[in-house]
């Protein structure tokens, strides 16, 4: 069994109004020293069998083309074996 975790974040140069709103709330709730908040998404994909070769390549492609939009987002994919 394997688990694939894909983290998707807006590129640094893309304005993140949601992150900015969260930042404002953190300050109002008393957190000091906040210099920035960015909000992203995490996908957890559980798979039977091993993740390697063509299957891993397909996962990379899907992370780049479906799970993220390369115009505005970066993604990081990691494979965790023996999970679930």
């Amino acid at each position: 069994m394997a688990r694939v975790v894909v983290d998707v974040m807006l590129k640094p140069e893309i304005l993140d109004p949601q992150g900015r709103a969260v930042e404002g709330s953190l300050r109002r709730l008393g957190l000091t020293g906040v210099t920035g908040v960015r909000q992203g998404k995490q996908f957890i994909i559980d798979l039977a069998g091993v993740v390697e070769g063509e299957r891993l390549e397909l996962l990379e492609t899907l992370a780049a083309e479906l799970l993220s939009n390369p115009v505005i987002e970066d993604y990081k994919l990691r494979v965790i074996e023996d999970q679930v």
């Binding site: 807006l10 893309i14 304005l15 109004p17 949601q18 709103a21 479906l66 799970l67 939009n69 115009v71 505005i72």
Partner: protein, 225 residues
């Protein structure tokens, strides 16, 4: 022979009926297309309507891009078929890479719904030929994720090549870079527009009838071709 303009319905489309009605008022034949069907039913042009295809899940337009009907539409658009994406349709066109850039959350974080003044800057596309260059129009705008973004090089290229179809006037409602409300592809046949011309085709319900020109434009361009 009347011109056949397809209007796609995705799960979650809202403005397909209004788009079809606008086509009919302009004098064309509106053909209903279904997201799950690759058959384009011999249409001459296609409109991707506004709404929330697939619930806006993942990203607006991200799942619609992979719908069976989009395979045929992308193929025909690359061969020159006129294709207009309105609001969610614009988002789908960007996700499909038929248009550059992306639409992001409004900078205000608020859903905007207002009658919006625009300037039409490109009248060479099949969707805008009935306007005069620099013409100002007022049509409804309603979006939560309408902020147009692209890198500086892409924005410069869009400006230099005259591919900014429409620009927001008076108010930038969503933080779009360079006040961009609509753009065209290099060939000019694919146009994405965030505001809604299909809601401004009758004086009873719209703030104007300025929107009808988008639909008469494409009919004339098809008859002339």
């Amino acid at each position: 022979m009347s011109v056949r303009v397809g209007v796609v319905t995705f799960p979650g489309s809202l403005d397909d009926r209004d788009a079809a009605r606008a086509v009919r008022i302009a004098g064309g034949e509106a053909i209903a297309l279904w997201h799950g069907d690759e058959d384009l039913k011999r249409v001459d042009a296609v409109i991707l309507p506004g709404g929330f295809s697939y619930g806006d899940y993942l990203r607006c337009g991200a799942i619609a891009r992979f719908a069976p009907v989009m395979h045929s539409i992308i193929e025909r658009a690359n061969a020159g078929m006129p294709l207009l994406g309105i609001c969610n349709g614009f988002q789908i066109l960007c996700e499909s890479h038929l248009l550059p850039g992306a639409l992001t959350r409004n900078d205000s974080l608020h859903f905007m719904c207002r009658d919006q003044r625009l300037r039409i800057e490109n009248t060479s596309s099949p969707w805008t030929a009935d306007f005069t260059s620099g013409q100002e129009i007022v049509i409804p705008l309603k979006n939560g994720e309408g902020g147009y973004v692209a890198d500086e090089r892409t924005l410069d290229a869009l400006e230099a090549e005259g591919r900014v179809v429409a620009r927001y006037l008076e108010v930038n409602p969503n933080g779009s870079r360079r006040d961009i409300a609509g753009i065209a592809n290099e060939r000019g046949n694919v146009v994405g527009l965030m505001p809604h011309p299909e809601h401004a085709v009758e004086s009873l319900t719209g703030p104007s009838t300025d929107g009808i020109n988008f639909f008469t434009s494409v009919l004339k361009s098809m008859v002339g071709s």
